[in-house]
Symmetry: C2
Subunit: 291 residues, 2 copies
């Protein structure tokens, strides 16, 4: 029988580890002195410890190891766990590869743009949300702005303000053409989409313009980039976002969106707009609606 120090020397593991495995019931010493609490391990426990160490090297968690060892697991169960672990490792390596590409892309960007602050494109999932808007083809940007101003002065007085969210555009134009902007313009609404009944489904803005409510579909992967500054510069930021998506070799699926997070104060160029482009990794095209 070895005391914990000698046993830890033999096995080349720390004493703390042995105490820990004892505590969680993974490997208890063959004998524990009830008076002093001293742990005494037998040589025959070394194979047991070694099995634990090997399984740990395979990346299994201690809880799984405990299950495999204590309760006699059938070899089919063990096979299952190993196959699962194999899949996990494969997944982790794929993730590592993706991350490597991201890091390299950022390094390339730094080399190419020099001191220019690097873009921070964030890909995130966007849930479905209700949308009070109208669709129109605008002749120029100024008319869009006028409509926005008009809406912001009218709508909040006629709606429960609590459910009114940001102003957002949905860009239906295929390509950016400053003379024919096929946009949806309106408000994002808070509250669960789909549950109509409380809020009206339409809203008369003026003689010829009617806002209607519908749901914007959820998007699993939305590439987003925040534009700060003058609205007139927005197409440059948009181009950067597009270039980034292209560099990732992803596909654009569906319509882009623009969310006005901060209207520019008169005399300042401090608008904040989040540009959004729904994407998917190549090979898994997405439902394209409104085509």
């Amino acid at each position: 029988m070895f005391r914990i120090g000698e046993f830890s020397l033999i096995a080349q593991v720390s004493g703390r580890l042995l105490r820990y495995y004892d505590e969680i019931g993974l490997l208890s010493p063959e004998y524990t002195d009830p008076q002093t609490g001293y742990r005494y391990y037998s040589a025959a426990q070394l194979p047991h410890l070694n099995r634990i160490l090997v399984l740990k090297e395979l990346g299994l968690g201690l809880d799984q190891i405990a299950r495999l060892l204590s309760q006699g697991a059938s070899s089919e169960e063990i096979r299952g766990m190993l196959l699962l672990r194999k899949a996990q490792i494969t997944q982790a390596m794929q993730d590592g590869l993706d991350q490597l590409h991201l890091v390299e892309a950022r390094l390339d960007q730094m080399d190419a743009f020099g001191q220019t602050p690097v873009l921070d494109v964030v890909v995130k999932a966007i849930p479905s949300q209700r949308y009070l808007a109208l669709r129109e083809v605008f002749p120029d940007v100024a008319s869009v702005r006028r409509l926005v101003v008009h809406m912001t002065t009218i709508v909040p007085h006629k709606m429960p303000a609590s459910s009114l969210g940001q102003i957002a555009f949905v860009v239906h134009s295929r390509m950016f053409d400053p003379d024919a902007l096929d946009f949806e313009v309106g408000f994002l609404l808070t509250g669960n989409p789909g549950n109509s009944g409380k809020t009206p489904t339409a809203f008369q803005l003026s003689e010829e313009r009617v806002l209607t409510v519908h749901d914007l579909p959820a998007v699993e992967m939305m590439a987003t980039l925040v534009h700060v500054g003058s609205i007139t510069d927005i197409h440059r930021t948009y181009g950067l976002l597009g270039a980034w998506v292209e560099q990732q070799q992803w596909q654009i699926v569906g319509q882009g969106r623009q969310v006005l997070l901060q209207l520019p104060q008169p005399g300042h160029d401090d608008a904040v707009i989040e540009l959004q482009i729904p994407v998917s990794k190549a090979g898994t095209p997405y439902l394209q609606q409104d085509m």
Copy 2:
């Protein structure tokens, strides 16, 4: 200004995350009401948050991100961190690949051996240790055993028992030849190797046999396998260990060792012996001494 709930919706991160980043000083809201503690975020903080999220996706720790953002880091520093991170990912992927091979090897073993309990070869580093032993070519296993018995009856009375460790063999035979066993036989000694002065450097066992003290070199990678049972079966376990090393496509560097962890009780086949083979990954040959 957005309250935390709305800001978390916009950015699609949890409120808890925002509070946490505030707590660790990574991203504090633009204004915090001193009365109520309510946090108010501005739209202009979204790019800041996005930068944090992107750097996090690259696998950087929050502490590193904080350094990069708060204290204006030069682009050279940033490059350095990204390059470092790249190396880390590469390393992690290599580790993943190794682990994948281990898992696959174990699956193959299970398929090949069926119900046979899989071997648990553990690779570990062995530190240098002092060794009181003699080298001899033994005509058979029985004579080795007689010497061991003799040593265990004589030596402990003449030595400070506290410094006496396990009995160990160093196998100098190139190949296993049961008629010419070129073994070192002796005791491992506790205490720092190299510091002689307290223990004698030699020990007269009998007329013609002298035990001398020297240091067994440290081994960075020692493949070990514990044999339990009759000593006469040990060559099979040894073969399994050798086959395992071969399957890993590693090289054997230096002499194997055998550490007697438990002498067999008379009438029982319950010896416990750890077999050790120093190895190195192919391509990085090791110092082979005693050649």
